[in-house]
């Protein structure tokens, strides 16, 4: 029985049946971390002792025959842009080195109620800006399937940890593809929920109108369980949605007959690697065989999603990141006056990509450019949203590749920001439209995992999970694990 390869729902059953203790499970995960973390570098911070004491508490509760939530005792990794009381939170940035938040993010609070075991804080692109985790201010993370390749980003550490057996599940955040892309690259399941489905309170903001927290898991059932735990309205986040949260596991039936699935032709056009195209074609074949009706459709404005995204997200980021100024917390580089201190602190504290986006965003919001850039981008965003609305009148959901290519080599795109940005071409529009996107493993390009993305109307996570679950049962992909 390899505890490090099993999904949370199975481990939960073993825990409740007392076939394994939470401490044994936690220790098994940490032994795995000890064995492979040198190669993967998924974590920025490990919470070994805290995890063991949380596990012991769960074991005591189990021994006392307490009724525990489904994820109790399950080791879970948290992306380092979520605030946890008393635990250093850096967003993989030197500017936040040493910052220890005095409060819990709402998602952390809810996971604590679930009595999960927190393994540690995972690596990411600095402030979630990037698609490869190479923009971490500390070190890059490797793809567990091929250590010379990137795990995707920005939640690369979380996805790599789940894939490598260094955590059973993980929490990531997604602004333009930051959950879905690493999930695809690491061969795991990743969901970006509808904007507003999960509270952002305590998630260090990158682009507030796009950021969403979501699960990264070994299979679709775990994804549903984790979404159950974190979704729901939060009075501390005015953008969180009031909609009721269903039990997402109830959607998990392997029956999709009559589901209408659209393939936006813009997502299978040029730029998509042949291997990715093949995996998608196979998936379509499988879904059709299962009774779904798959047809081509069009999202006419998605070709503008990259420029629109790279105006809106940096504009918001330029303002969100203004608070890192050396006055109150994190890095301070002294200067003769306060303005010099600001400049020195921010010059040294931020990495190149973060600076690039702050400049881009500042420019887009500047007097004289606002209308031409930021405002126009907002208009494009509305058009993209309408494209999705129109498509969802005909289809239950849309299907696309998650990424145009399989995982690329570390270093391959670091000097070409535009090539790096194109990695997210299939995920950006979903974020701009605020609709849910679910990436699931669908096949391989050689030894490298390839993911596909299911996109639904707002608040149809349940439906997406149902199709993903049916597909997963039929395809049996998740059984494969990387060898390290």
């Amino acid at each position: 029985m390899d505890l490090c390869r099993m999904p949370a729902h199975e481990l939960g059953r073993l825990l409740r049946e007392r076939k394994v203790s939470a401490l044994e499970l936690t220790d098994a995960v940490f032994s795995r971390i000890d064995a492979v973390e040198d190669k993967v570098k998924a974590y920025l911070l490990l919470l070994r002792e805290e995890a063991r004491s949380q596990a012991r508490a769960v074991d005591a509760a189990l021994a006392a025959k307490e009724e525990l939530p489904p994820l109790a005792g399950v080791p879970l990794a948290v992306k380092d842009n979520l605030c946890m009381t008393g635990v250093e939170t850096t967003c993989a940035s030197k500017i936040l080195k040493g910052f220890v938040p005095p409060y819990d993010a709402t998602v952390i609070e809810r996971l604590k109620e679930q009595r999960v075991v927190f393994t540690g804080k995972t690596n990411m692109d600095e402030f979630a800006m990037g698609s490869s985790t190479e923009n971490s201010g500390f070190y890059p993370t490797a793809n567990p399937w091929d250590l010379k390749r990137v795990p995707g980003g920005s939640s690369g550490g979380s996805a790599a940890a789940v894939a490598a057996g260094e955590a059973v599940t993980a929490i990531g955040s997604d602004t333009g593809g930051s959950i879905r892309l690493p999930a695809a690259f690491c061969g795991v399941v990743g969901l970006k929920p509808t904007y507003g489905r999960v509270s952002r309170y305590g998630l260090v903001a990158f682009a507030s109108s796009l950021d969403q927290i979501g699960p990264i898991t070994r299979d679709v059932r775990d994804c549903a369980l984790l979404l159950n735990a974190i979704a729901g309205h939060d009075p501390r986040d005015s953008t969180s949605a009031p909609q009721e949260v269903p039990d997402y596991t109830e959607f998990l039936v392997p029956e999709i007959k009559g589901f209408r699935i659209g393939i936006p032709k813009e997502y299978v056009a040029e730029g998509i690697a042949p291997a990715v195209r093949d995996v998608l074609a196979e998936a379509v074949h499988l879904l059709t065989r299962m009774g779904a009706v798959v047809e081509e459709t069009s999202l006419p404005h998605v070709s503008y999603s990259l420029p629109a995204y790279y105006l809106i997200a940096p504009a918001e980021a330029s303002s969100n990141l203004a608070r890192y100024d050396g006055v109150r917390y994190g890095l301070r580089v002294e200067g003769e006056d306060v303005v010099t201190m600001y400049k020195k602190t921010r010059s040294r504290g931020f990495g190149a990509e973060v600076k690039r986006r702050i400049m881009l965003g500042t420019y887009a919001l500047s007097a004289g450019y606002y209308d031409a850039y930021y405002l126009k981008a907002l208009k494009v965003r509305t058009l993209i949203r309408r494209d999705f609305d129109a498509a969802f009148e005909r289809f239950d959901m849309l299907l696309s590749p998650t990424s145009p290519t399989p995982p690329f080599r570390i270093g391959e795109k670091v000097d070409d920001p535009l090539a790096m940005y194109l990695t997210d071409i299939c995920t950006l529009a979903v974020s701009l439209a605020g609709v849910p996107g679910l990436s699931i493993p669908a096949g391989f390009a050689g030894h490298l995992p390839v993911g596909i993305q299911l996109i639904g109307p707002p608040f149809t996570e349940g439906k997406l999970l149902r199709v993903a679950y049916a597909f997963e049962q039929e395809a049996g992909i998740t059984a494969k694990r990387p060898v390290l």
């Binding site: 842009n81 979520l82 605030c83 939170t89 967003c91 936040l96 910052f99 938040p101 005095p102 409060y103 993010a105 952002r200 309170y201 305590g202 998630l203 260090v204 903001a205 682009a207 507030s208 109108s209 009075p235 501390r236 986040d237 005015s238 953008t239 504009a315 918001e316 330029s318 303002s319 203004a322 608070r323 100024d325 006055v327 109150r328 917390y329 306060v338 303005v339 600001y342 500042t362 919001l365 500047s366 007097a367 606002y370 930021y374």
Partner: protein, 483 residues
């Protein structure tokens, strides 16, 4: 060389006295030990989010209604981006192109009668913290920041450039303060910074329709300072124009000590605040029904109260104006009136003795040591003839000083009026006997002479004699002597 006319507009910030801050649960109270009314949200820690305090919207709507504004059915918040250590997020959540209210006005009294001053807009925003320097900002070795005030709700009220003299500006600011105070949403204390006035001023040749180049004056800490600063600035601008110079559009600060306006270090030359919609807050939708509900809860405003005082109490317009200049004065007046329903008498005392002593001791009327019940008691003592009007003033001063009840003061100090006619007659006979010349004058028709004799009686009774009885007995005494 022709005459110049000033054109003045005011931007007024009023802190709202809600329990909690605009976007977090921290206390919005004034003062407090530095950095005690704070939380992760108002400190702008990574990951926190603002949640709008509904009370702030209610208060803002009250102000907007009191100032005859149109309330927007749909408005939104925007971020105003600039770096300053007292601003933890380095942006201020404010309202930019869609403010909460627009197109209002208020009326002021001028030499030429009533004048309407337009109100361009009212919006809500968060206040910044406070920097504490050792000495001045340029010489201090380090500065400390107090974030207690960070996130306290602010109302920004922008007027039209409708004022044509420093006195009109003052009248507008005072009227605005009075209206806001009447609604009860702000203390409006300039000395505590809960009311802040910035003035925009330009000058132009009299009769010209075009606006001149304006300057903005900050750091005006009293209404008197506002008038002085504007007078100085207008003179300065006129002098430049008469010399053929040009006014530079800039922000200037009022130096109270030197009595001059000085250009502020132009660090913020044409500051670009890069406003954009606040993504953390959904747009604010205000329903007509809710506005009507707030309207029904609106207290009586200064103008309405003033008219009522004239109409119902028959007070002179002047009295009514003074009594309604602030809500507290009017409330005090009405509290007295409920116990002693003689409007003009109460008005005289409130505007006279009470105002004099409050001024002399720099006391707010709300903190007056003489309570309305005590003033009413005193007025009844006069009516009953227990004390004379003159002695009553002495009693009032004593009540003001000690807070004791008027009856007690009268008793302790033996200030009861002498109404015993036999006792008074003895004294009066002595006075008549001692002043034959004055008595003769009176007999010859010099009415004033009687006043002197009354004074003599008062002197020997230490002012306690009942003046009406003294008057009658004196006349009788003189007549009797004649027979």
């Amino acid at each position: 060389m022709g005459k110049y006319e000033p054109v003045i507009g005011l931007e007024i910030h009023a802190e709202l006295k809600t329990e909690s801050k605009i976007f977090c649960p921290s206390s919005a109270r004034f003062g407090g030990e530095p950095n005690t009314y704070i939380c992760p949200v108002c400190l702008g820690l990574p990951g926190v989010l603002p949640v709008l305090n509904k009370k702030v919207v209610e208060y803002a709507v009250m102000a907007a209604l009191a100032l005859n504004c149109e309330i927007a059915r749909f408005c939104k918040f925007d971020r105003k981006n600039y770096y300053y250590p007292d601003l933890p997020k380095n942006y201020q959540i404010s309202q930019y192109d869609l403010p909460l209210a627009q197109y209002g006005f208020l009326e002021i009294d001028t030499e030429n009668g009533r004048k309407r001053i337009g109100i361009t807009r009212i919006h809500i925003e968060e206040d910044a913290g406070k920097l504490l320097h050792q000495g001045t900002v340029t010489t201090t070795p380090y500065s400390l920041v107090d974030y207690n005030r960070t996130g306290v709700p602010l109302l920004e009220i922008v007027s039209e450039p409708d004022m044509r003299s420093p006195e009109e500006a003052r009248a507008y600011a005072e009227k605005l303060r009075s209206i806001i105070q009447f609604t009860g949403i702000s203390d409006c204390k300039m000395e505590e910074g809960s009311l802040r006035v910035d003035a925009n001023v330009s000058v132009r040749p009299l009769g010209s329709k075009e606006l001149g180049v304006k300057t903005e004056i900050k750091n005006v800490n009293s209404f008197r300072a506002l008038v002085r600063a504007l007078e100085y600035e207008i003179e300065r601008q006129v002098a430049i124009l008469k010399d053929g110079g040009r006014i530079v559009q800039e922000t200037r600060t009022w130096d109270e000590g030197k009595g001059v306006t000085l250009p502020l270090r132009s660090k913020e030359e044409a500051h670009d605040y890069r406003y954009f919609p606040e993504p953390d807050l959904p747009p604010l939708v205000i329903t007509k029904e809710w506005v009507e509900e707030v309207y029904r809860g609106l207290p009586e405003l200064p103008d309405a109260r003033r008219e009522r005082y004239v109409r119902e109490y028959g007070l002179p317009a002047y009295d009514a104006g003074v009594l309604t200049a602030s809500r507290e004065v009017g409330d005090y007046f009405e509290a007295c009136l409920r116990l002693y329903p003689q409007p003009k008498t109460v008005s005289n005392w409130v505007m006279g003795e009470l105002a004099r002593l409050l001024n002399a001791t720099n006391t707010e009327i709300a903190d007056s040591p003489v309570k309305p019940e005590q003033l009413a008691d005193l007025l009844r003592l006069i009516d009953k003839g227990v004390v004379s009007g003159k002695i009553a003033k002495t009693v009032f001063e004593e009540v003001f000083r000690t807070g004791k009840d008027p009856q007690a003061v009268v008793k302790e100090q033996g200030l009861v009026q002498i109404t015993d006619e036999a006792a008074l007659k003895t004294i009066i006979d002595e006075v008549i006997a001692a002043n034959p010349k004055v008595v003769a004058d009176y007999r010859e028709g010099k009415e004033k002479a009687l006043g002197f004799l009354i004074g003599q009686v008062m002197k020997s009774t230490k002012g306690k004699a009942n003046p009406a009885i003294v008057n009658r007995l004196l006349k009788e005494g003189i007549e009797n002597k004649e027979i």
